[in-house]
């Protein structure tokens, strides 16, 4: 049985005199016990609404939420057995940091010594032992965020909901904490869902990532799969840094396969053998499709596509080479320095097997082969 099960969740915000806002649309999701899931998306995509519906601060407009098979969408927050760290920290101003963290434990049947042992353990983990006796108003935003995180993680709950848990932390500390929190969650088999707009954070912490846009779950998969088998154009262009190159092409049948031409000079041949029935039919029906290729899959200095270089940057461990080709901008990432100046014409190799093909509706028709 799944730890968390969201079925057909819709959330519509209605306010007087304004058109209703459809924040989340028919969302289905299952999270297994011990899994760490990231809700990833730009702001306003519905990820925080989803989290708040699970916590019980927002009602679901329709659909059901179940934890361990038990419907919780009609229960008050107190009875849902979930812990949450808020984006705005939300510490109780009249209590010290220690009391803030211990607060949630006090109402449970936990002995005094056990409470202080657990508070200190979690404080050590997020590095706030030295401010335990301070009041929230005298500590920095980053410290408040860690207190808020500690307050959520110290509890015994079925589900841990973390809203932008590390947004305020310095990059170095963030990297350290990610590792520690991930191993804490794994060690105790805690199920966690966190909201973030930072891809690095999502891929570092999460087992699976739910990419959301416009209230719709675009794809829910591991980072590897999101990168290699994006479900649609949005995921393809959203995941990965720099984003996937996208080229508009015209489709023509040729020699039992398809010829996708970008312009008069650039074309790709996709043989029919590598395509399944649905893909074949989709390609045959579409006059135009978009092809996408990851910058890391483009080889520079070889191949048939001639590209006029726009910029060439050595980042210390990789080169980002950007060039113009038949009206499109192509970015290639290669592990070595490239001797090319802006204005030079350099051949790029775009292997047909590395191409993702997206139909007019954005859905992926064919994924790139994984080498």
């Amino acid at each position: 049985m799944a730890m968390l099960e969201l079925r057909g969740i819709d959330k519509v915000y209605r306010s007087h005199g304004r058109p209703p806002v459809h924040a989340v649309r028919s969302l289905d999701m299952e999270v297994e016990k011990g899994e760490i899931v990231a809700l990833l998306g730009s702001s306003g995509c519905g990820k925080t609404s989803t989290l708040r519906m699970i916590a019980g601060f927002e009602s679901v407009t329709s659909g059901s939420i179940a934890v361990r098979g038990r419907r919780i969408d009609a229960l008050p927050p107190a009875r849902r057995k979930v812990a949450m760290a808020f984006e705005g920290y939300s510490l109780y101003p009249p209590l010290t940091v220690r009391e803030n963290i211990a607060f949630a434990l006090k109402s449970r049947q936990v002995s005094r010594s056990e409470v202080s042992r657990r508070v200190e353990a979690i404080a050590r983990l997020v590095e706030i032992e030295d401010i335990l006796e301070n009041y929230p108003r005298v500590i920095s935003g980053g410290q408040q965020q860690r207190v808020s995180l500690a307050r959520a993680l110290v509890r015994d709950a079925d589900l841990y909901l973390l809203d932008e848990p590390m947004g305020q932390l310095e990059p170095q500390l963030r990297a350290v904490l990610r590792g520690r929190i991930k191993s804490l969650l794994a060690e105790r088999e805690m199920t966690a869902i966190f909201v973030t707009h930072d891809q690095t954070e999502a891929s570092a912490l999460a087992d699976r990532i739910a990419v959301m846009e416009d209230g719709v779950l675009q794809q829910f998969a591991s980072e590897k799969e999101l990168k290699e088998r994006p479900a649609n154009l949005f995921v393809a262009s959203f995941i990965g840094e720099p984003p996937m190159n996208l080229l508009e092409t015209e489709v023509k049948r040729a020699d039992g396969g398809f010829r996708l031409s970008v312009g008069p000079e650039v074309a790709f041949y996709i043989s029919g053998d590598g395509l399944d029935q649905t893909a074949q039919r989709a390609l045959a029906a579409a006059p135009r499709v978009r092809v996408g290729i990851r910058p890391q899959r483009i080889a520079v200095g070889e191949g048939a596509v001639r590209v006029r270089i726009v910029s060439n940057q050595w980042l210390g461990d990789q080169s980002h080479v950007a060039g113009e080709c038949a009206g499109h901008l192509l970015i290639a990432v290669v592990p070595n320095r490239v001797a090319a100046r802006p204005g030079d014409v350099v051949p790029f190799a775009l292997g047909p097997r590395h191409l993702n093909i997206f139909g007019a509706d954005g859905v992926c028709i064919r994924h790139a082969e994984v080498s």
């Binding site: 916590a55 019980g56 107190a78 808020f86 920290y89 939300s90 101003p93 449970r108 408040q144």
Partner: protein
């Protein structure tokens, strides 16, 4: 400020003194008057040096007023007690009703919510006389005329809007997520309200309570129409000093001093809460 010229500083000092004298003089003069007899007060020109007397206070406290026309019963202490009962009763009731209402208006968006809140505020800018006539007729029908409860009820027109609107602002300043965090920790909505929201808005509630207490205390017209002699507060009771044999300035002054004292003491006591209340917004995380 540091680069202010000498002339500027002097000007500021003079201006502050003028303003202070302007506002404090009547109060100081009343205080002096309360220790003088009527003859001393009416002397022309008035003197700053005089032999103080406690006769005015004696008369007020004993309830016996000796005038040229004979002895007069005055019920000032009774009035003072009435004021205290009516004002604290009104504020207590208004807090009981207003604080949860303010919380509801701050936290929940519901149909006609803003309209209701604004209607309640509009009680403050409608002239009291507008409602008094129909109200006194209703009160006679209902038997609420000349009862403490009736007056406390009508005082809600003064206290409730004030508390509602001030406290609502304080609740809106508290992040709802603080309560959410508390509720997630296994507490009910009611507990979050009483243990988190109310204590955090405490200074604001104290400030609103104090303000509405002062407004109730100073009210004149409601009690004048709706209360008879034994339920009248000091504001109405002071009319008794306009007697057949003249106006008793000394007693009026003493009565003013006595009736200002409770609110003044309350304000002094509540001052630290007021300051805390004002600075709450500045330190929120």
């Amino acid at each position: 400020m540091e680069h202010e010229s000498l002339a500027g500083r002097i000007f500021r000092g003079v201006a502050l003194t003028l303003i202070l004298v302007f506002f404090m003089f009547p109060i100081a003069w009343i205080l002096l008057m309360s220790f003088q007899t009527n003859e001393q007060i009416l002397r022309i020109p008035p003197r700053l040096l005089f032999e103080p007397t406690l006769a005015n206070y004696e008369a007020l406290i004993s309830g016996q007023l000796h005038t040229a026309a004979g002895n007069l019963e005055i019920t000032f202490m009774r009035n003072l007690w009435n004021s205290l009962v009516l004002s604290s009763g009104a504020v207590a009731l208004a807090l009981l009703l207003g604080v949860p209402a303010a919380y509801a208006f701050a936290r929940f968006k519901f149909r006609l919510g803003e309209t209701i809140a604004f209607t309640l505020l509009s009680f403050r800018f409608a002239p009291p006389l507008l409602v008094l006539l129909p109200l006194s007729l209703y009160y006679q029908e209902l038997g609420l005329n000349d009862t403490y409860f009736g007056i406390v009820w009508v005082y809600q027109l003064i206290a409730l809007p004030l508390i509602l609107w001030i406290v609502r602002g304080y609740f809106e300043d508290i992040s709802p997520d603080i309560e959410h965090a508390y509720r997630l920790a296994g507490h009910s909505w009611r507990e979050a309200f009483t243990r988190i929201a109310v204590p955090l808005a405490g200074p604001g509630i104290a400030a609103a309570g104090l303000l509405s207490f002062i407004f109730c205390w100073n009210n004149f017209v409601f009690a004048l129409i709706l209360a008879s002699a034994d339920k009248q507060p000091v504001t109405v009771g002071a009319l008794a000093f306009v007697t057949a044999s003249g106006i008793q300035y000394g007693q009026i002054a003493a009565a003013i001093v006595l009736s200002v004292t409770p609110t003044l003491l309350l304000a002094l006591y509540a001052q630290r809460y007021l300051v805390e209340g004002l600075s709450l917004g500045a330190v929120k995380g």
